[in-house]
């Protein structure tokens, strides 16, 4: 075998040039196991993304490399078409060596599947038709306002110090609760992020690329920077989930963004605001959450935690 070709085959099995016969066998059975079942932990999260047909293609690739490396006598005796049957791999250890039988048991769930055995084919996958949910309104479209950035501003000059930070934000509705719970609909990056251009005299060139995405955005909203009051809480207002939500909404903040900034699950914020106490099981952690969240909102954290935890204890 040509050296280059050999290297190629080895790399298919994730092997370096110094791989021994044993290494080849080990790698081979590792990958056969990996791609044979959708229940291996490394594959499982992608089981929809890497369907059976694709795994079969990968297996054939691996099989080809293996055969090429060990020669036809190390012949693959796996019948890939019988993917959902227990498989017996016979690894030939070479002349005189005892033949080793490795049995790969598919997990129970797999055996229960009564899927027809798909013939092992090499055909290219045809691109699937993409289902698009036409009914999803693009909420952003409605709220967008076209703003041209004047040339002068692009040059970062003559901007008075007070408006040094100009917040340009694509408005976006806070997803409703169901959506939040599923956590499934992630906004398209460019819109989900409040975009801010900093006008600074000493802006070095190398950052133009980072800022570039803002300037090139076709539609942007200019929004006044929200002034956060130091502590707007009346001593006699009880801090409830609803109150926190009201404050948040008045500041045009999104749970998702807050979650990211505070590095907490945004779902917890939704639960806190809706007082879904049954989902908030750890009072110690909850107290910490309330404190961070209310501090972030500019509220008195001790009072917020005190009020909220009192309600939590009485309702729970």
């Amino acid at each position: 075998m040509k050296k280059r070709k050999k290297k190629e085959y080895l790399s298919i099995l994730e092997l370096g040039e110094k791989a021994s016969r044993d290494d080849i066998e080990n790698a081979y059975s590792h990958f056969v196991k990996l791609y044979s079942s959708e229940y291996s932990p490394e594959i499982h999260p992608l089981k929809e993304e890497i369907p059976k047909e694709e795994r079969k293609k990968i297996l054939s690739d691996i099989d080809k490399a293996y055969k090429a490396l060990v020669g036809e006598d190390g012949v693959n005796r796996i019948d890939f078409s019988a993917e959902f049957e227990p498989q017996e791999i016979i690894l030939d250890e070479g002349e005189g060596a005892a033949i080793e039988h490795v049995k790969i048991e598919p997990s129970k769930e797999v055996q229960e599947e009564s899927e027809p055995v798909v013939e092992f084919e090499f055909t290219d996958e045809t691109i699937q038709k993409i289902p698009v949910d036409e009914s999803i309104d693009d909420i952003n479209e409605k709220n967008e306002l076209i703003v041209e950035i004047p040339e002068s501003e692009k040059e970062y000059n003559e901007i008075p110090d007070e408006i040094e930070h100009q917040v340009i934000e694509m408005d976006e509705d806070i997803p409703d609760e169901d959506e939040e719970m599923e956590g499934s609909i992630e906004e398209e990056p460019e819109i989900s992020e409040p975009q801010v251009i900093e006008f600074e005299e000493d802006l070095p060139d190398e950052n133009v690329d980072m800022d570039g995405s803002i300037e090139e955005g076709p539609e942007i909203i200019v929004q006044e920077e929200v002034v956060v009051d130091k502590d707007p809480v009346d001593a006699d207002v009880e801090i409830t989930g609803k109150y926190l939500k009201k404050i948040r909404e008045s500041r045009k903040l999104k749970v998702r963004d807050i979650g990211e900034i505070l590095n907490i699950e945004y779902k917890s914020i939704v639960h806190i605001e809706n007082e879904k106490f049954e989902k908030l099981n750890d009072p110690g952690f909850l107290r910490w959450l309330i404190k961070s969240y209310s501090k972030f909102l500019g509220l008195n954290e001790e009072k917020s935690a005190g009020d909220y935890m009192r309600r939590y204890r009485s309702k729970k």
Binding site: V167, V196, I261
Partner: protein, 305 residues
């Protein structure tokens, strides 16, 4: 040697991003390199506890108020050659903290005098995290063998790719990517498969196809497996790199594993400091190995496990 930025992410919380960042930094400092370690987890900073120092809140505030240079916010760590930037950025105006301040921060960061800058990105897949990750010379992802951690790693990679390609396409004037499809591909319950999404982008035209291919080619992930309790689990690193290459068509390197070690737990509550942990016989060689692989761009193959 050229100044290098390493960014450490991984999506899921608690995988060991901070521990590894601190250990890489300690290792580099030991090699007489000037190191700046950045707690990029600017909401939940905890790196300072590993060094038994306090975050320097006031000078970081001053930096953002333009009263001082970023270099004045560097905190001595007790490890020679290793400085830390850490502080809580939550006290800044929440609307602008995310973008401007980080932007300014990273811009100034790159100008600091250092041989290597290591950024602990914290958990999550927010845009700032993805952008910082893409800006780095070494993109490092940490996972444990747990399935949730692996799942988060895939999600992180997917978002990194979409962010990168979408940016590149729109830079070239191709902005007409269907928002519904984008939403769908980034959600957890995809109605469109990632591979179909990529095909769809490529199908938009010859130029677009080239941009997508180039974009994928520019992403190189260094995988680190952490909290390995049995040798068997280190093979996950091989599996993940193979899957990233095959399924996502990006470059992936498996840089090595760090075993589970009780002593590391003590870092977090402050009863051990990073240097004493780094000196542990089971830890130092692993970090040396992983760091070396990342620096050299080499990786661990099946026969080297």
């Amino acid at each position: 040697m050229k100044k290098e930025i390493w960014a450490i992410g991984g999506g899921k919380g608690g995988t060991g991003k901070s521990v590894l960042s601190a250990l890489f930094a300690t290792h580099a400092a030991g090699k007489k390199r000037k190191v700046i370690l950045v707690d990029g987890d600017l909401g939940g900073a905890n790196l300072h506890t590993f060094f038994n120092v306090s975050p320097d809140q006031s000078s970081l505030n001053e930096f953002f108020e333009k009263k001082t240079d970023l270099k004045d916010t560097l905190i001595d760590t007790g490890v020679s050659g290793l400085k830390l930037i850490s502080g809580d950025m939550r006290s800044f105006n929440p609307l602008s903290v995310k973008y401007i301040q980080r932007l300014k921060f990273y811009r100034h960061l790159k100008q600091l005098n250092a041989d290597i800058i290591i950024i602990d990105l914290g958990a999550g897949t927010g845009l700032n995290t993805l952008d910082s990750f893409l800006l780095a010379d070494k993109m490092i992802l940490v996972s444990t063998p747990e399935i949730t951690s692996i799942e988060n790693l895939y999600l992180f990679v997917k978002k990194v790719i979409v962010r990168k390609i979408k940016d590149m396409l729109s830079y070239e004037g191709f902005r007409d990517i269907d928002k519904t499809i984008l939403k769908s591909v980034l959600s957890n319950q995809e109605t469109i498969k990632f591979s179909d999404f990529i095909e769809l982008l490529k199908g938009m035209g010859k130029e677009q196809e080239k941009i997508v291919t180039d974009g994928l080619g520019e992403i190189q992930i260094n995988l680190v497996m952490n909290q390995i309790r049995e040798k068997e689990f280190s093979k996950y690193g091989i599996s993940l790199k193979n899957i990233l290459k095959r399924h996502y068509n990006i470059n992936a390197l498996f840089s090595g594993c760090l075993d589970y070690n009780d002593k590391i737990r003590e870092l977090v509550n402050g009863s051990a400091d990073i240097n004493s942990v780094f000196q542990i016989d089971e830890i130092r060689p692993s970090i040396d190995f992983i760091s070396g692989n990342i620096s050299k761009g080499s990786d661990v193959n099946f026969n080297e496990l």
